[in-house]
Structure formats: C-alpha cells, structure tokens
C-alpha cells in the first residue's frame, strides 16, 4: 500500500500551468517518507487509477483559472463516474480517476483532495509568474497539513492566497 500519493500535473512550458510540477519538485526535496509517492505528469491519464487504488490518501495538485491568481484552494474530491463519460484518453479529472480506480480495482483512497493554485499567465514560458511563485510555499504547507492528517472542508473558507 501507498500511504499517500501526490499527483501533480501541468505543462512547464506554459507559464503558471507548471506550478503543480514546481510544487512536486519542491516537495520531493523535503518529504523523506518512503510510503509517500509523488507523480508528476503533463496530464493525468487513466493509467494512474491503479496507483490511486493502492493509496490511503490521494492529493491532486494543479493550476487553475477558476480561482484568483495566487489563491490556493484545497478541497475534498469524490469518485464521479459521470466525469469519465466524456471518454477522454489523454487527460482525466481527479473525480474521474477516483471513479476509474473504483471501477477497475474496487478501491479508492480513504481521503482524496484537490489542491489548486490560481494561475495568472499561461503563455509560452518556462517561468512562473511572481504571484504563482509566491503561492508555491503556501500550497506546500497545505499539502503537508493534509499529509499530517488535517482535513479541509469543501467550503471556500479553506482558500488562502500567498499574501494573506
């Protein structure tokens, strides 16, 4: 079994879209727990369902345009089979992957969270914007709290920005 699985995705050549990968890189240096695995990919694909099914805790980390630039949001996610209906084969949503894990392997993690970081610029660049860069340590703290057993509710109250 995997105690915790951290799954980050993004394109490091599209500015803030790569913030998840930056967070993964930063976490990889600081987390020494052999039962915590970090997967960094450009996209989440169905192949991840198998590893997800073996984890007690899954933390998905991604950039977002749905929250304010620099804002870090952590919220629980649940399996949603309707999220698999689109038939996407190159990329999957966290809830779709959880549903796949349940469907194919009969198990999902006890706890699953999606940590999103609001991006400012998704143009061609291998650099994060200043506001996204400042959000990296905030997201790391959120993830470490989740690893330590802290739970976050679904409400927006758990959102924080780098400047708050």
């Amino acid at each position: 079994m995997i105690r915790a699985l951290i799954l980050t995705c993004g394109n490091p050549l599209r500015g803030d879209d790569g913030v998840g990968l930056q967070i993964a890189h930063s976490l990889a240096v600081g987390i020494c727990d052999p039962d915590t695995e970090i997967y960094s990919q450009q996209q989440w694909t169905p192949e991840l369902a198998e590893a997800i099914s073996r984890a007690d805790l899954a933390i998905f980390v991604d950039a977002s345009v749905a929250v304010a630039p620099g804002e870090v949001r952590a919220q629980p996610v649940s399996p949603d089979s309707s999220a698999t209906d689109s038939g996407m084969t190159h990329t999957c949503s966290p809830s779709g992957l959880l549903a796949l894990a349940q469907l194919l392997y009969g198990r999902t993690p006890d706890r699953s969270y999606l940590v999103t970081v609001g991006g400012q610029s998704f143009d061609h660049s291998d650099q994060l914007s200043e506001i996204a860069r400042r959000a990296v340590p905030v997201a790391k703290e959120r993830i470490k709290a989740l690893l330590a057993g802290v739970s976050f509710p679904r409400e927006e109250a758990n959102s924080r920005t780098a400047s708050s």
Binding site: E47, G87, M88, T89, Y105
Partner: protein, 475 residues
C-alpha cells in the same frame, strides 16, 4: 443529383480530420476524401536551428509517439556526424522504441478501438469509449491500462520521462543502463506477457463477429512497405526497405532508406495537409502502399520471438498470401505488442546491455543526413540538410501516417459504399466509416485529442448545397 456527406471531426484518432463523401446521381457513394485539417510546419520552423537540437524539437511533433521522432531525428544526426553508435547504445535505443510501440499500440487497441470491438459499432456513442469498456469488461480495461503503463514506465525508466524524453543523443544515449533498472523492467515482464496473451485470445475468439468489417475495411490489394533486418526480421529500429505485393512477392528489396527520393514520390492534394507518398516506379496513385503493423507482419517470413512467432503463423494463415484487410491492423497490433515485450526481455538479458560505452562523439562530418525507423504506425523518415556551421537549412519528414494516406482514402470509399445509404444516415454508418480510419491508427497530431468532447456531424447535401439530411453527435 450528386450529394456531399461530411464527417467532421473524425473521432478517436490522434489529431483533427474530417471525411467528405460524394454521392452520384444514383445515390451511390462515388468519392471519399480524408481531410487532415491542421498544419504543423515543423520542417519549416526548425530551419536555422543547430542540428543537435533536432531530436528534441522534432519529438514535440507528437505526444503519443515522441520516441519515434526522437530516434529518427537522432539517427539523422548520427549520419550528419558520420558516427557508428556503440552496440549497447543501439540496443538501448531499440528497447526504447519497442516500449514506445507497446504503449502506442495499447492506446490504439484498448482505448480507441476496443469500444467498437467490444460494445459494437452500433452501440450508444455515449458508452462507446474506454470507460464503457471498463464497465462492460473490466479485465480488458485493466489489461489496456497495464500494457500502456508498462510501455510508459520502460520509457521513463530508461529516458527519464514518459513523454518527450531526452536521453537519446546524436551518437548514442547519454547514460548507460544500471543493473537495478534492468532488473526492475525484467520484473514487470511476466505479468504483461500474460495480459497480452489473454487479450489476443479474446480478440481471436471474437473475430467472427466482425466478418463484414473484415471484408470491407480497406480490404484490397496493395503494396506493403517496411524495414527488414539482414536476418529477415522486421527492422523496428533499422534495416533496409522492402516492398512486397498482395501475393507476397518481393517487389523491391535492400533499399537504403537514405535513398528514399529514388523510390518514394510525395504527391499533394488540395483538400488535405497530409502528403501522399507513393512507390515511384508505379506512379501516382497506382503506387499506393501500406505501412505499419499489418504491413510489417506481411513483409517477413518469420517473427523472431517464440510466442509472437506462434501468433504470427496463425495470423498469416488467415489468407493464402498477404493479409489484406485493414481491420487486421488491430490483430497485428496485439501480435506486435507480444513481440515487443519478448524482444525487450531478450535485449535486457544480453551480456553487454550494462556496458558504459554508450555514446560516440564527433564533429559535423556530413551536410546531409537521413534517419529512419519503424514507428508504431509505420516507417518514419527524417531528412536534414545543414550548413557548414551545423545549422539546419532544410528538413523533410515522411510520417508513417502519410505513407498510409492513399490507402486510407481508398478504404473510406470502400467502407462508405458498403455502409452508407443516402436515404437515411445513421450513427452506426458514420462510426463504421470512422472505424476504417481508426484501424490504421493515424497519428495526425496528439496535441488536442479529445474524443467525445467535440460535436460530430454528418450533413447530406445536394449538389446545390441544400441540406437534405443531418445527424449530429453531441458531447
């Protein structure tokens, strides 16, 4: 009155395309066109770049088969350097290529085509996807996931990344294989062998259900082309080019890929961005040929690994001569997965596979270089010219999918004549025409593939443009 039917976009393929069907005054389909509606331009925008960047620029052509472009580009650069790649490096490149073929074939068979095969061509398109397969037959879905994961993990273990890896460099690879990594990959093999054999067994058991599709899916005589090694096996990494005909006769053999302009012509048509390569001695379009899994298994007299050899014998017994139905690309893909797994195991057990001599170095020695290898979908050719400073001044790529372009167009016409009735269009008709294309597994571009997300529409129009019938698939 003649009419035009448009299928736009074609779904469950790699990239963007549409199909136009033209009917004649009697309502019979008289012409079919496969339009590739996107333009990439890699040959043009690499001009001015140093040649040693080419492997990493060119692999960005594709997110599914970047390793193929990485290898073909590196081999073209090997030719520019005029180096001999160390034997161990060549073997490591071969393993990488085999892993790439496995993961790409798994994507094609299990993710893109198994919904048609398992759920039926006429099943509800909302369920006709990999997730529908997983619900209906979870063990098949798990098998697809496992095989794709295996291919990707081998690529990642060797080259550091699953998509757009480095590691392969002009002259070899930039790091040797460690014993730990070799043992790790070897430990995965028994399980994926078992999964592949089970999938093959399931597919063969169900072949009878697709008799009509086998008969009409691009089932016609053509030439077949691919790389063949000196010991008469498919040359997945290198070899000489062979052409055979539908009777299994060798039409041309031992052709140096570097001399491709002597035997391959490249025609263009105004309705698509994809070129139409053809076998020059037969002219255009008579010089139509097919490449990829079906062609490769037709080109040789033996497969080369124990389990794949057994399956190859059974496959070739489908017909007296060459296997002609493009529906059997699916079958051939599964046999190639089996072969690739066995061949990876063979290479990993070779005594020199852990050698640290994995790169040859040299300065620029030639101003022109050609690299060719077998990509999952067929023979891939990269051709570069550089100036004295090593800056690229000209490039030409012949992509595997392009080789099949003439055959795909003809296959669409054959299937449309069989399945499309102008009086009433159905989603099942549409899907069968698309499924012909899917059998070839064209890789037009992987940048924005998202089946089920885009509306699919067929319009039946009179020659004056009036809309006579229309069906639409909504996401």
């Amino acid at each position: 009155m003649g009419k035009t039917i448009t299928i736009d976009p074609v779904t469950r393929i790699e990239g963007h395309a549409k199909i136009t069907l033209q009917t004649d005054n009697q309502g019979e389909v008289s012409a079919a066109y496969f339009h590739v509606t996107q333009f990439r331009g890699f040959e043009k925008f690499c001009e001015g770049r140093p040649f040693y960047e080419m492997p990493y620029i060119m692999e960005r052509t594709c997110g599914i088969c970047p390793v193929s472009h990485l290898l073909a580009a590196a081999k073209a650069c090997d030719a520019l350097l005029a180096v001999r790649v160390p034997p161990t490096a060549a073997k490591l490149r071969r393993i990488l290529n085999l892993a790439q073929i496995i993961q790409s074939h798994a994507l094609s068979f299990f993710y893109l085509s198994s919904p048609d095969l398992l759920l039926g061509m006429d099943s509800d398109p909302k369920d006709r996807n990999i997730f529908g397969v997983m619900k209906s037959k979870p063990e098949l879905g798990r098998g697809g996931v496992q095989l794709r994961k295996f291919g990707q993990r081998v690529i990642e273990t060797l080259a550091g990344k699953r998509i757009h890896p480095g590691w392969v460099v002009p002259g070899g690879v930039n790091a040797p294989l460690t014993q730990e990594k070799r043992d790790l990959i070897l430990s995965w093999i028994p399980e994926v062998l078992e999964v592949t054999l089970k999938s093959l067994h399931w597919f063969k058991q169900n072949l009878e259900n697709y008799r009509e599709e086998i008969r009409t899916f691009a089932n016609f005589p053509s030439l077949f082309m691919g790389l063949v090694t000196p010991d008469e096996r498919v040359g997945y990494y290198d070899g000489k080019i062979r052409f055979t005909d539908s009777l299994g006769n060798i039409v041309a053999d031992n052709l140096d890929p570097a001399n491709y302009p002597e035997f391959l012509g490249e025609a263009v048509e105004p309705y698509t961005f994809t070129k139409f390569p053809y076998y020059k001695p037969m002219g255009y379009p008579e010089g139509m040929y097919r490449v990829g899994p079906l062609a490769r298994l037709n080109l040789v007299d033996h497969c080369g690994t124990p389990l794949a050899q057994q399956e190859w014998v059974e496959f070739r017994s489908l017909e007296r001569n060459a296997v002609l139905s493009s529906f059997h690309y699916h079958y051939a893909r599964l046999i190639e997965i089996l072969f690739c797994i066995e061949h990876i195991e063979e290479f990993l057990n070779e005594p020199d596979i852990l050698s640290t001599h994995v790169r040859s170095t040299a300065s620029l020695n030639n101003l022109e270089g050609v690299g060719a290898s077998e990509a999952p979908r067929g023979t891939l050719i990269h051709h570069y010219r550089v100036d004295e400073q090593g800056l690229v001044i000209w490039a030409n790529l012949i992509i595997a999918t392009g080789h099949n372009n003439l055959a795909m167009n003809r296959g669409i016409l054959q299937a449309a004549r069989q399945f499309v009735r102008r009086e009433k269009l159905t989603e099942g008709m549409l899907n069968r025409v698309e499924a012909v294309i899917r059998a070839f597994d064209p890789c037009l571009s992987c940048s924005t593939h998202a089946y089920g997300e885009m509306p699919l529409q067929i319009e039946l129009r009179a020659s004056d443009g009036a809309l006579l019938d229309e069906i639409a698939r909504t996401p």
